[in-house]
Subunit: 256 residues, 2 copies
Amino acid sequence: MTEITGTGDPARSLSLLWRLVEPSPRGRGAEAGLSVDRVVDTAIALADAEGLGALSMRRLAADLGVGAMTLYTYVPAKAELLDLMVDSALGEFPSLYSPVADHWRARLEAVARASWSQYERHPWLLHVAASGRPPLGPGVLTKYELGLQAVDGTGLDEVAMDAVFTLIEGFVAGTARGVVDQVAAEEATGITETEWWEATAPILDRVFDPERFPTVTRVGPVAGEAQQAAYDPRKAFEFGLVRLLDGVAVLVDGSP
Amino acid sequence: MTEITGTGDPARSLSLLWRLVEPSPRGRGAEAGLSVDRVVDTAIALADAEGLGALSMRRLAADLGVGAMTLYTYVPAKAELLDLMVDSALGEFPSLYSPVADHWRARLEAVARASWSQYERHPWLLHVAASGRPPLGPGVLTKYELGLQAVDGTGLDEVAMDAVFTLIEGFVAGTARGVVDQVAAEEATGITETEWWEATAPILDRVFDPERFPTVTRVGPVAGEAQQAAYDPRKAFEFGLVRLLDGVAVLVDGSP
DNA sequence: TTCCTTGTCGTACACTGTACGACTAGCCCT
DNA sequence: AGGGCTAGTCGTACAGTGTACGACAAGGAA
């Protein structure tokens, strides 16, 4: 279930992201000590613990000890809440990234691994469709800043710097999604990846025609055996990262 | 809204995917001429035209002129229906791919572009989470076969062949998702990407601190201007594809 | 003709986001 | 001190979701 963000007008979203206006509670809200931050933090905790599927407005309100509609005092709609959650979670990036390395390749690899662990900590990040119009709050910009710094000083122009960071970031998100989907599938079905593959492989063997799929017949079992599944996202991450950095090296240095 | 697939047991799913058992209708179903294929084809047509969000069991049944629960005669649940849709849509791959090229790099690029146009034709493919446990039907295997053939004869071993195809495929899916999300955002908000960027950029200028984000301050506006948006997935595709193929070339030939 | 199998489908349940409007607690002004 | 207004709270309602259950009916077999 991917959720869409940023419904309302950009100005409203931005002023929320940067906390330009805070609805200072005067009424009974003061009792509960509610605030945008508390709503967002609780929502993140809920999504971390039980997934984005468990994050309904009613449930979040119950966790906060208020009525469902009270949330709409602090947040215009669920879409904006998700924006705020994304920005807040991505803001943790600096604590996961140590930019000690002095070579761009080491820096970029560190960025990729820090990003990877962000998605491990907050898997629901991959289920909010922030692609086209990211919530341009402090958290997102901080991550973007550090990502760009990693490719700074390589001689690449500004457009290429942006493109390289975007490429790495998209790759990490894609492979991380693999992990998340596998975990979700395990929880939904109660069957582990290995069990599923062991149940599927023999049936598949009988059903499909080696003459129609000669290359799959040769490659599939070997690959499947190597990763004990149809797909191992962690291995895909390690493999792909090297290819990607090699490709960027060609652009930067003219050779890997 | 990403939907999960493959709830039931693998054996049941596989026999459906390969059409091992067809519920030959004897009762009133014969009047409507219903079949698994007709259900799947109609579901694909609906998802193509109005998106995965419009694909509810009630709506699909209405399009077929039957009651909602009738669908469950042909398909165990919505998850399995999605599996069947994915496999059927991916089966169109050969008609989009001409493997004339005799160099692996040209073949792999053709695979990437064919895959890209699949996601253009069926954007909803990107919203079903098939990652970990793909529906291993004839359509998926056909695409996998042709993808593997593209990297065959390069001297790579079986595990690496699988890894390269997976890497390319993941990259295409990731960037294609960018397009889909942008279109979805435009339809949901009524604001085009360019309009959104033009509304956001000036506000953002005032709100954020150049000293805190020096590299973003330098790179962001140049990149934003170059693509008239925060992100241009088509340019990201062209840029990333070259990097990726360069990286694979290093693996295959030892140099780009 | 009677029975049984098998496809059809109306109803019901628990759930979603949020529009609307009623309620009330606290602040300001007189 | 008292009245009025502002602004946060939240109960109810609506249109939708996937699908379990069980009633129904039509065709083939005896």
